[in-house]
């Protein structure tokens, strides 16, 4: 069934298809319409869930933790300050091995107050033990929500899916909605391995002495390592069932791309067959802009390509290394800033490439753009690509693009 949905509605309809049983949330712009849509779906009887509106984001995550620990499939959504307020409980959900699924609408952190997109809110939660998916389109938001449950419940870790404020959250697109029945064939009912079973009472959240704590953390690391293959498999199987898959990294243009047949699953060869002088690296909606800019540049004979990164945790190190093998230069566009270090995706990518043999290790050029929702236009993307083209050695500090004097 095709529907015209905003990115926020797509997240809500994804949770509806996945039959989330408890939704606990608190309003914050630009996330609010996700939970409003869910309230509406519950009201219309299209989703049989308990809907709780609590008194803060901290309580929203606590509500999900309680419900998930009781054996229910849960969903929540937030943004920026709300996500920051949740921070304590993000750790709790992950260390408690609760497969909660949450949508975060990327919004810049305050002060100064902003409601517009950048990635610092979600990237600041990198080390909480959540898987993180960055989405490019409303369809990807819906599909990733469904995939997220499948992955989370297999590895007993929570999953965050991330969409750009307004560019996705409040922009409408045609979205194919599989519906609950078809989704149920992909996503089996939630059967928790550990939960608060009243017939067999357990204690959760007790004190863990020095001789046990490390093992809990180790098991999380093992689960994260396993998650990578599970994410790939979940995407492959989703593609086989619904005709859409995204890969964990995506190369564009790819010789396997078949623009003539939209019904076929999108081709996913991780290894580029085209030759690139420069490869842009993007996440979120900048990716679509970059695809357009790359088409224009390639018409002019520039060998520019694109690597879309969809997954931050677990980081797809091997896939990334294969995808950029033979590419001399990467231009990483970071819509975020780790002040004192640089763009966050660039740091992740540099770390992933470190153990590559010297000759296979591309030059990583770092660009900061679009903070606080400033537009990243095709012209800005082109400017970055052309700048990267000219360079033959690394920059001392990231280049800020479109900065006012």
């Amino acid at each position: 069934m095709h529907k015209i949905l905003t990115g926020n509605q797509a997240a809500a309809w994804g949770a509806m298809c996945a039959q989330a049983q408890v939704v606990s949330a608190y309003p914050i712009t630009p996330q609010t319409t996700i939970i409003e849509e869910l309230a509406d779906l519950v009201d219309k009887g299209m989703l049989k869930a308990e809907f709780i509106k609590v008194e803060s984001e901290h309580s929203a995550m606590a509500g999900c933790i309680g419900a998930q620990a009781a054996g229910a499939r849960t969903f929540t959504a937030t943004s920026a300050q709300g996500l920051a307020l949740m921070h304590e409980l993000l750790h709790w959900a992950a260390l408690g091995r609760l497969p909660i699924v949450m949508a975060d609408v990327n919004r810049a952190m305050a002060p100064g107050w902003s409601i517009w997109t950048d990635q610092n809110d979600s990237l600041a939660q990198r080390d909480t033990g959540w898987l993180q998916f960055y989405c490019e389109s409303n369809q990807e938001v819906l599909d990733t929500t469904i995939q997220a449950y499948r992955i989370a419940e297999q590895v007993d870790l929570p999953v965050m899916l991330i969409l750009d404020a307004f560019l996705l959250s409040h922009t409408s697109e045609a979205v194919d909605v599989p519906g609950q029945e078809a989704t149920a064939r992909y996503l089996p009912p939630y059967k928790p391995s550990i939960y608060l079973n009243t017939k067999e009472p357990h204690a959760f959240g007790g004190i863990v002495p020095q001789d046990i704590y490390m093992e809990f953390r180790y098991k999380m690391q093992v689960a994260m390592d396993e998650a990578l293959e599970i994410c790939q498999k979940a995407d492959e199987e989703y593609g086989a069932m619904f005709g859409r898959k995204y890969g964990l990294v995506d190369v564009y243009p790819n010789d396997d791309d078949d623009d003539d047949d939209d019904d076929k699953p999108k081709a996913q060869s991780q290894k580029p067959k085209a030759e690139f002088d420069v490869m842009l690296v993007t996440s979120g909606t900048v990716t679509s802009t970059a695809r357009y800019a790359i088409d224009r540049m390639r018409e002019q004979g520039l060998k520019v390509g694109l690597l879309k990164t969809r997954l931050l945790r677990p980081f797809p190190t091997q896939l990334l290394c294969e995808a950029v093998d033979g590419v001399p230069k990467l231009a990483v566009i970071d819509r975020n800033i780790c002040v004192g270090m640089g763009g966050i995706w660039a740091q992740e990518i540099k770390a992933a490439l470190y153990h590559q043999p010297y000759k296979q290790r591309p030059l990583v050029l770092e660009y900061i753009a679009g903070l606080g929702g400033r537009d990243i236009t095709p012209e800005i993307v082109e400017q970055i690509a052309l700048d990267a083209h000219k360079r033959d050695k690394a920059m001392d500090t990231p280049k800020w693009v479109g900065l006012k004097e």
């Binding site: 309003p27 914050i28 712009t29 609010t32 309230a39 009201d43 509106k53 803060s56 300050q81 002060p111």
Partner: protein, 276 residues
């Protein structure tokens, strides 16, 4: 509504027009606050107005004083820090009902308990206006909201009673139907030494009224006014007759209880005298 030249000095006129909906009660309340500040004869440079998040919390952006627009629910914590650092300054907090009593409810009761010399104006319009009409802790039982399509299921807070119970030493309630009374109640709070709360019943016809057959601002303001009763009249009638009504005026006042900054200072002096 035009402002007098005197009040114009208290506003950042270059930031106007404001972002509130036409007919919003926040304008009446802010104007009452400005008249009260003006009547106190304070230099605006000695006044700090601190807010959290929401429609009401946008007010400090328009005020030509020391203003701080902080995180959701935490205005009182920033204000407490400010007041302890500069007890010589006048500190006013302006919050909405969601900001002050849901996400910030914890800080509200503890500020009451400490009796710190801050005046807080709580604009109670029974709804989260800015984010699109989700129910708040003061949405009346049965009223509709974006997240309560079948009516509010949770009982609501009586903000004034909550603050009296928590230990505030000046608690007043007014409403947008009477800006003059609001000004007088706010002035009383500003004069009071200790934690003062002025609950201002207000209209959000856009988010609350629209869902509850009160979408016309004047109709909603009249509806609010009709539910109010002067505190002296309220004392004469039975609890049954008071049901659904809100007493307005100064509901509680206690002078002479030690103020928090002074108590803290006295403690420092006592500790220093012991140590040296």
């Amino acid at each position: 509504m035009p402002v007098s030249l005197k009040l114009e000095n208290l506003l950042r006129m270059e930031h106007l027009p404001h972002m509130w909906c036409p007919g919003c009660g926040i304008g009446i309340i802010v104007k009452a606050m400005l008249r009260a500040i003006d009547a106190m004869g304070w230099d605006p440079r000695d006044v700090a107005v601190i807010s959290g998040i929401g429609c009401t919390s946008r007010a400090p952006g328009y005020l030509n004083m020391n203003t701080l627009h902080t995180t959701h629910g935490r205005a009182l914590t920033f204000a407490t820090g400010f007041k302890l650092a500069r007890p010589d300054k006048q500190v006013i907090v302006i919050s909405g009902d969601g900001d002050a009593t849901a996400i910030g409810g914890n800080h509200l009761i503890h500020s009451c308990r400490r009796n710190i010399d801050i005046t807080e104006i709580i604009v109670n319009n029974n709804i989260y206006g800015m984010t699109g009409g989700q129910y708040s802790p003061t949405t009346p039982l049965g009223a509709k909201a974006a997240t309560a399509p079948w009516g509010m299921v949770e009982p609501s807070f009586d903000i004034a009673k909550l603050c009296i119970g928590a230990g505030a030493t000046y608690v007043a309630r007014g409403h947008v139907g009477s800006g003059v009374q609001l000004e007088r109640l706010i002035r009383g709070g500003l004069k009071h030494k200790g934690f003062a709360i002025i609950e201002a019943l207000s209209n959000c016809h856009t988010q609350f009224g629209r869902r509850n057959k009160l979408s016309d601002p004047i109709e909603l303001i009249n509806h609010i006014a009709a539910k109010t009763i002067n505190v002296k009249e309220a004392a004469k009638i039975s609890p049954e007759e008071m049901r659904g009504k809100f007493a307005v005026g100064i509901l509680f006042q206690e002078e002479g209880r030690e103020e928090y900054c002074e108590a803290y200072n006295r403690l420092i002096q006592r500790a220093q005298a012991t140590l040296h």
